[in-house]
């Protein structure tokens, strides 16, 4: 208040001019907020439209069903990368989902204990660790001791990338479950673990699945952690590995134990090659990847919106 009166008395602008200037500033600044919002949407639209334009012509059946053709040759596909991404993501999901959900249960049920706070904080910080550093960790943890690159190392690295997303969304969803449900179950004599797994988890399932989906979208889109864990392998083909005809354990072992590839990794390599066919395929892979990731995000949005509606009614 005192500063206002001081500036009032010091200034020589007549009251009406001051009023107009304040409103002019107001209009300009509020206009700028809208302007910058539109500005930020330009790259989003530009990327989506361009990737569709450049990628769509190269989307062929062959792209999804064939291994790469020789350098400079037309045709061939990225089957190796699709299979690699599937293997790595599946493994990462198997590793990260139980850990993530159980950790979320701990954090949600122990919100104000030192360990609960530390884990929440640790999860947030883990989400901020650059993915390339997590790739280095995967290298040090698995590639170095084993002496070779493998799908296993990539799966572990991607699992660590997915973990924070799973923990945080699951925690939020568990917290949304009405406490009365939990108390009701406990009052009926159910032990804590049964309450958690049979009452709280089903009630929160919609949100938990959403969290999984977002985590998978994040994991599939990552490149940096794959660079020196799975390395790349353009002859990777599960079909041939399975035809080898040993026991299931041996097959799984062979699937996980060799270097593999990924869609993002293939994109990165193809983008740097001087062959136009390869660059074209990079755009096609970008399109597939983008549609997958954006599709999952849209689906997750719809799911949450629906569960919120249900909760409100």
């Amino acid at each position: 208040m005192t500063t206002m009166t001081r500036t009032l008395s010091r200034s020589s602008i007549p009251a009406k001019g001051r009023y107009q200037r304040r409103h002019a500033v107001n209009a300009v600044m509020l206009g700028l907020t809208g302007f910058f919002t539109l500005l930020a949407l330009i790259p989003l639209v530009w990327i989506i439209v361009y990737v569709i334009q450049a990628g769509a012509p190269a989307i062929t059946l062959e792209l999804f069903t064939k291994l790469p053709a020789g350098l400079g040759q037309v045709g061939g596909g990225v089957l190796h990368a699709i299979e690699g991404t599937l293997v790595v993501t599946l493994l990462a999901s198997i590793l990260s989902m139980p850990v993530g959900v159980l950790t979320a249960f701990y954090v949600a049920t122990h919100p104000n204990t030192p360990l609960g706070l530390a884990v929440r904080f640790g999860t947030d910080v883990l989400a901020g660790v650059p993915s390339i550093v997590i790739g280095l960790f995967g290298y040090a943890l698995i590639v170095l001791p084993q002496g070779h690159y493998s799908a296993l190392a990539g799966g572990v690295a991607i699992a660590i990338i997915m973990l924070p997303t799973i923990i945080r969304t699951t925690e939020e969803m568990i917290k949304l479950v009405p406490n009365a449900m939990r108390e009701g179950s406990l009052a009926l004599g159910a032990p804590e673990w049964k309450t958690s797994l049979r009452v709280i988890l089903p009630a929160a399932l919609n949100g938990v699945v959403t969290g999984f989906m977002l985590a998978i979208a994040r994991g599939v889109g990552e490149t940096a952690p794959l660079l020196f864990t799975v390395l790349g392998n353009d002859r990777y083909d599960i079909g041939q590995i399975v035809q080898g005809g040993q026991s299931i354990g041996a097959i799984v072992n062979r699937i996980l134990d060799q270097p593999t590839d990924g869609l993002t990794l293939t994109m990165w390599k193809y983008a740097q090659q001087p062959f136009p066919e390869r660059v074209q395929q990079a755009w096609a892979v970008a399109l597939v990847l983008m549609l997958f990731v954006l599709g999952i995000n849209i689906l997750a949005r719809v799911l949450t919106a629906r569960s919120q509606l249900k909760g409100n009614s």
């Binding site: 107001n26 910058f36 701990y106 901020g128 660790v129 550093v133 973990l163 406490n179 004599g189």
Partner: protein, 328 residues
């Protein structure tokens, strides 16, 4: 009351242990600890794996230098041009992205009509969800020639007397400027989302009091909301900085990976910690080279760890302060 873990704020009064609860809680406990162990293990592994490089080069690894110092052929590594390249690109990105993001956050939190709020929020999230490598591909073929090259030429012609804009930008547009601008696009969603949440958490009474005193909406935002949420917004900016420092693929694809470019000019190709690791690691032959690259990872880890801890504490502080004040 036999609880395994003390609970300060618990709804379940007098919870008793029943069949199977002890193993259940033990499992939860182990899983929770695992996240913390993971953080320590990541830190320890990059520390441990970089020991050869740390012992060989000591402090000279991070010391300022002007000679061609990152030399895999002769196994001599000094990271100064890489560290400065990382900082320059990230700081420029922050400087450009911060005002834009705050304006967008204000629009989303305060001004936006309800009908378009959800779609707009969603589109900002979309921008964050696009994989980094897609940004990179678009960057190489569209953004560098279409935007970065003209902007770089313009800056070189008009502000070329500044060391920051000295020299001319390569014809391909590959440069630190390209990395900075693509980072700007990539961190806008981060800063925007956190700032928006901080603004929305500010109690209504603060807004109403300011407007009731005759402030225009902008004055209310500028004099009340932004100062009130300052620490949270600062946290948002630091989170964005952390993301910009660690961003790998898009930067690697547009920055040119010149590890010896010592001039600070934005128009020159450069390298960042993450881009050098991504580019050289798989091809590193000598043990020392690998170790030096992992030491770059160590530097990156420590930087982002500190930034993230500071940022989270700042954001939490706002979140924790607000409810108690809103109640009062």
């Amino acid at each position: 009351m036999a609880t395994l873990f003390p609970k300060k704020k618990s709804s379940s009064v007098g919870r008793t242990l029943r069949h199977g609860d002890v193993p259940w809680m033990a499992i939860l406990f182990v899983m929770a600890i695992l996240v913390l162990v993971l953080m320590l293990a990541i830190g320890w592994s990059v520390w441990d794996q970089s020991s050869a490089s740390r012992q060989t080069f000591g402090a000279s690894f991070v010391a300022p230098t002007t000679d061609s110092s990152w030399d895999p052929v002769n196994d001599h590594f000094q990271a100064w041009p890489i560290i400065t390249g990382t900082l320059i690109t990230a700081v420029i990105a922050i400087v450009v992205a911060t005002p834009i993001s705050i304006f967008i956050a204000i629009f989303l939190a305060e001004l936006c009509p309800d009908r378009i709020r959800t779609p707009l929020n969603f589109m900002v999230e979309m921008l964050a969800a696009i994989p980094s490598v897609v940004f990179g591909l678009w960057g190489i073929f569209v953004f560098l020639p279409g935007v970065v090259k003209p902007v770089g030429d313009f800056l070189g012609n008009t502000l070329g007397f500044l060391p920051l804009f000295s020299g001319t930008i390569p014809a391909s547009g590959t440069s630190r400027l390209g990395a900075s601008l693509i980072l700007t696009i990539m961190i806008i969603p981060t800063i925007t989302a956190v700032t928006r949440d901080v603004l929305r958490a500010i109690p209504r009474a603060q807004r109403e009091a300011s407007l009731a005193l005759g402030a225009t909406r902008w004055e209310m935002i500028w004099q009340v909301l932004l100062p009130y949420g300052l620490s949270g917004i600062l946290g948002a900016i630091i989170l964005g900085l952390g993301r910009a420092l660690g961003e790998t693929m898009a930067v690697t694809m547009v920055i040119g990976n010149n590890t010896v470019e010592a001039s600070g000019s934005l128009l020159k190709p450069g390298a960042t910690l993450a881009s050098v690791i991504a580019n050289e690691f798989a091809e590193a032959v000598s043990k020392l080279h690998t170790s030096a690259l992992i030491q770059l990872g160590l530097i990156l880890f420590v930087m982002t760890l500190l930034l993230n801890m500071i940022a989270r504490l700042l954001v939490w502080q706002v979140a924790r302060r607000v409810p108690s004040e809103a109640r009062a």
